[in-house]
Amino acid sequence: MPDLESRPASPNPRRAWPALLGITLIVAAAALAFAWVAGWLTPSRLTPQRFTNAIETSNGHIYRGFRRAHAKGVCVAGYFEGNGQGVTLSSARIFAPVRTPFVGRLSVGGGSPYGLDSKARVRSMALELNSDDGQQWRMAMNSFPFFGVASVQAFYEQTVANTPDPATGQPDPVKQAAFAKAHPEFARFAAWAKSAPWPTSWANTTYNGVNTFRFINRAGEQHDVRWSMQPQTAFAAMSSEQREAADGNFLSEDLDVRLAQGPMRWDMVVTVAKPGDPIVDPSQSWPEDRRHVIVGTVVIESTTPQTTGACRDINYDPLVLPTGVEGSGDPVLAARSAVYSVSFNRREHDIASGKAASATGPAAPQGAKP
């Protein structure tokens, strides 16, 4: 800062003060505008940092170095093989009849890396596809067919409502009921969670993209789409007794056994919207009669632990997309991109600051508390 006391070129100090005041006001206004844009002046505005804080609080513990959601999982590797059918919908390279290698991750919902597989209602598949044109496509899909709530704010409220009460260690049922009342669309999700059968394996689970994306083909034609990975492995459901008896890590144990016998496959099924179908609300399904196109096969060939595997340091941000694919106006997509980045930054920071031995060590425990 210049020394404001010495003003050799300004003979009359009384003339200087309006200018000094003006300068101070201009600089202060710029600093305030910056602080406002940064969210520092509005502590109640929902930001990705505050959303991530809420997730950490609702996890009950910060598991250093692990994903703040879908914390438990394994890395997988394999390839996607396009069958050429997708080319009419999108110019993305993976839809050509070629093999595109991926680094993927299979996981279960929940914030603890030590949770029990038999209690995890939601299972997930994430892929980072690296096509031979140098482009990348990242996807993160869940076993629920539609999202629980209609908006980002509602998902935040759900996260807060599910936070365990320090006194009981359990979520407060009164808050949960208040949340469900405020968001009637959640009833459909609750019904799914209660009644949908539990597949016996990651291999025979369907993974849904849930959010809407836009495909653009070579001719520039656009289609709103959603997609699912539908297992070629025969479906089999677990009874609640089987789940009670299952090992806490039965999913990864099952995966090891299956992969020892050969690769696992899913069809990628793209559903094309008709005009008027809900685009911005992932809690609403599209009618069953929409056009479905099988565009290729996901093939998983091998698995490694997430603590040492290549998927550990990947942020499966669903908006890392190649040409031919774009996000839609679905606000949940933008919110995911923002929150995943904060979660990724925090876990990578944990690793860099040496706080994440159990998330990185080759001998890291599976299913046991550190």
């Binding site: 210049p2 020394d3 010495s6 201009i26 600089v27 940064a38 606000p331």
Partner: protein, 212 residues
């Protein structure tokens, strides 16, 4: 032209266009990481704009090394002289550091460094958690340092323009005054035109109603 009183046209055009770009980048950057909805569109603007700043900074540094900047007024106190020079070098350093750190950080984080759909820059760092975390923090800290320096720089520039009225602001705001010619510019005092900046002072004097 060793005794120029103004920055050359290249320097002035680069200074003001980059000032606009850099200030925009600071606001876009700090805003996008705090937004639940604007991040995707702002990040896709932020990356190519940042790399554009890197390219412009190279041109600017070359121009700066080839053309001596006009000297600061001889009566400027030594502390201000030093502050001016030091802050300019800090600004230059950050014009390079910010985009380079941004690019390396995305490389170390395993992200594609997308400029626009289908065109990516190659990674300049191996994918690594520790380097990513360090670079990610550096990007934030250097951005805050850059913003603080820009604010001081802005205050100093306005101080020169409104309080000292010593021609420093005009040296960046406009070109050399036309050659002094009694018939064309009868009112301009030749001495003043060289040492400070007569038309700047006169214009400000009018604005301020200062009859001198």
């Amino acid at each position: 032209m060793s005794s120029a009183t103004h920055f050359n046209l290249t320097a002035r055009v680069l200074h003001w266009s980059m000032a606009a770009l850099i200030v925009t980048m600071l606001f876009v950057g700090i805003g996008m990481v705090a937004s639940m909805s604007w991040r995707p569109s702002l990040v896709s603007l932020h990356r190519p704009l940042g790399i554009a700043i890197l390219l412009l900074a190279i041109v600017r540094l070359l121009n700066r090394l080839r053309h001596r900047p006009p000297p600061l007024p001889a009566d400027l106190p030594a502390v201000q002289m030093l502050a001016a020079k030091a802050s300019h070098w800090v600004l230059y350093a950050l014009m390079f550091a910010m985009p380079l750190v941004g690019w390396s950080m995305l490389s170390a984080g395993g992200y594609p460094v997308t400029m626009f759909k289908g065109f990516m820059l190659p990674p300049i760092m191996p994918h690594n958690a520790t380097s990513y975390a360090l670079l990610r923090s550096a990007h934030t800290r250097l951005a805050l340092l850059l913003f603080a320096t820009v604010l001081m720089h802005l205050a100093a520039a306005l101080f020169h323009a409104w309080v000292r009225r010593d021609g420093v602001f005009a040296s960046m705001a406009r070109g050399e005054p036309p050659p002094v010619d009694a018939t064309l510019a009868p009112a301009v005092d030749a001495d003043e035109a060289r040492s400070g900046d007569a038309d700047e002072t006169a214009a400000l004097a009018q604005v301020n109603g200062d009859e001198r």
